[in-house]
Amino acid sequence: MKNSWTGGESACLDSPEDGLAVAVHRREAGAFERLVERYESSLYNYAHGILQNTFDAQEVVQDAMVRAHRALTRQYDEERCATLALRPWLFRTTRNLCLNRRRSKTRELERPLHEFDDNRLGPFVGGAHSDLERREETELLRRALSILPVEARELITLRFMEEMSYGDIAKTVGTSEAALRGKVFRSLKLLRDALEKKGVAHAV
């Protein structure tokens, strides 16, 4: 299952791909534009989640789109396009480019997620606030997220910003759904700890 882009479990959260990959393969007018329109924001946000840099994120998305176009129109045959899980495939492409880029930059010291233990998550930011409070909260949340290990940032982006299903995330990052559930929870916990250290533990 790990690296299979074809078939697999059906996603419950994700919109159907309605043959978009095939349309791009056949070079139908406007098909690639539709693909860009549908995914550019998500991919950009994801790349930014990993790289924490707007310039790099933009370059990665551009590169990913060029590669996607090349693969769909030239490298894959129609059958492969028809069975392709387009969304996780695009995210995976973006992810690989992000990680390449990170690798070529300075290596950050980051603890892998499995070093943290599970326990209760604790209360989290939420509820009704004034505009000012919300803006501060947003800023704090962004900062807290930025100091998390890249793996945690990535999973939080995919799961909570992109609302991707566990099935699709598993395909994107190449892991099992069961392992993923643990990782997502630990990522949340790290985020929660990061916020607490900054004194933003709002009681719900």
Binding site: C12, L13, R27, F32, E33, V36, E37, E40, S41, Y44, N45, H48, T54, A57, Q58, V61, Q62, M65, V66, R67, A68, H69, R70, T73, R74, D118, N119, R120, L121, G122, P123, F124, V125, G126, G127, E137, T138, L141, R142, L145, I156, T157, R159, F160, M161, E162, E163, S165, Y166, G167, R181, G182, V184, F185, L188, L191, R192, V204
Partner: protein, 292 residues
């Protein structure tokens, strides 16, 4: 089911991604365990907060992703020249191939399709001038590539018609004297030959060097521009890199237009910069040979 197992499942429960049996077990646990129930609320609140901080790409990104590039065919003395361009300038030039080959080449390089369009007059004049071997002072190009690549291409456009420079000189001018190979690669990758005159860069050791369309084409191009290729090769064979003038005590690249005005009996040949400076010669300000 224990707390630990429940906690890692509450987010999947939130979006109905658990198998029926598992969901049932988690529900049962949540009914009994206050801590876990609270965690579920936390996750729901968190999901909402985090979603609100997703960021959007700059508006300009869409345009660059979906831009339709166009192409046109320009006639150059009976030979078709394929020219790809965008609203921002020339993107690719290729000679003597079929339309299909050109489009494939373009797609492979840039991952985009080309549609037929009319080349704007300004760009057409630049292509015509470039193909004729005239210099294009300010080429309007829309090129992709790293900062270094852009710098190098910019330097190439400033090499005058009828003159040549070495790869090492370009590397030096670009601020990375050791990147001689990189300069060679950038020249080889040049998608707008003629307009960005990569053919005016030659190896320091003599000869005209490689060219995308073959060394013979490069040699012919340079000869047509007035570069005395044979003479240069002869000099390179003797290890002569610079020419100086006894009257001005200035030394130049052999193809510098100032060097070529030096009369026979006033000409001095130098093997390197050191030899020239020792004899009291200073580098020419126009061709800047000291940076070679």
């Amino acid at each position: 089911m224990r707390c630990r197992n429940v906690l890692t499942r509450i987010d999947a429960l939130r979006t109905n991604e658990l198998a029926a049996g598992e969901a049932q077990e988690v529900h049962e646990h949540l009914g009994k365990c206050h801590d876990c129930e609270e965690s579920l609320n936390d996750v729901v609140a968190l999901a909402r907060s985090v979603r609100s901080i997703a960021i959007k790409p700059p508006k300009s990104m869409r345009a660059s992703l979906t831009a339709t590039d166009r192409f046109d065919v320009v006639d150059a003395g009976g030979r078709p020249i394929f020219v790809a361009f965008s609203n921002r300038g020339l993107r690719m030039i290729h000679t003597g191939s079929s339309e299909e080959e050109f489009r494939t080449m373009y797609g492979e390089r840039f991952g985009r399709e080309l549609v037929r369009g009319a080349l704007p007059e300004r760009l057409r004049r630049q292509v015509a001038a470039a193909v004729e071997g005239e210099g294009v002072d300010r080429p309007v190009v829309d090129l992709e590539g790293s900062e270094f690549e852009q710098t190098v291409l910019g330097i190439l456009t400033r090499i005058p018609r009828g003159e040549v420079r070495t790869y090492s000189w370009v590397a030096q001018q670009a601020g990375r004297p050791k990147a001689v190979r990189a300069v060679g690669n950038i020249c080889a990758r040049n998608v707008v030959p003629f307009v960005v005159p990569c053919h005016r860069v030659v190896p320091a050791g003599g000869g005209v060097g490689n060219y995308a369309f073959g060394s013979e084409v490069k040699r012919a191009l340079l000869e047509r521009e007035g570069v005395p290729v044979d003479e240069l090769e002869e000099m390179a064979g003797k290890g002569i890199r610079f020419i100086g003038s006894r009257t001005t005590h200035i030394f130049c690249f052999p193809t510098c237009r100032d060097a070529r005005r030096i009369r026979g009996d006033n000409r001095v040949a130098f093997h390197d910069e050191e030899e020239a400076t020792k004899k009291g010669f200073r580098p020419c300000k126009r061709c800047q040979p000291a940076a070679a």
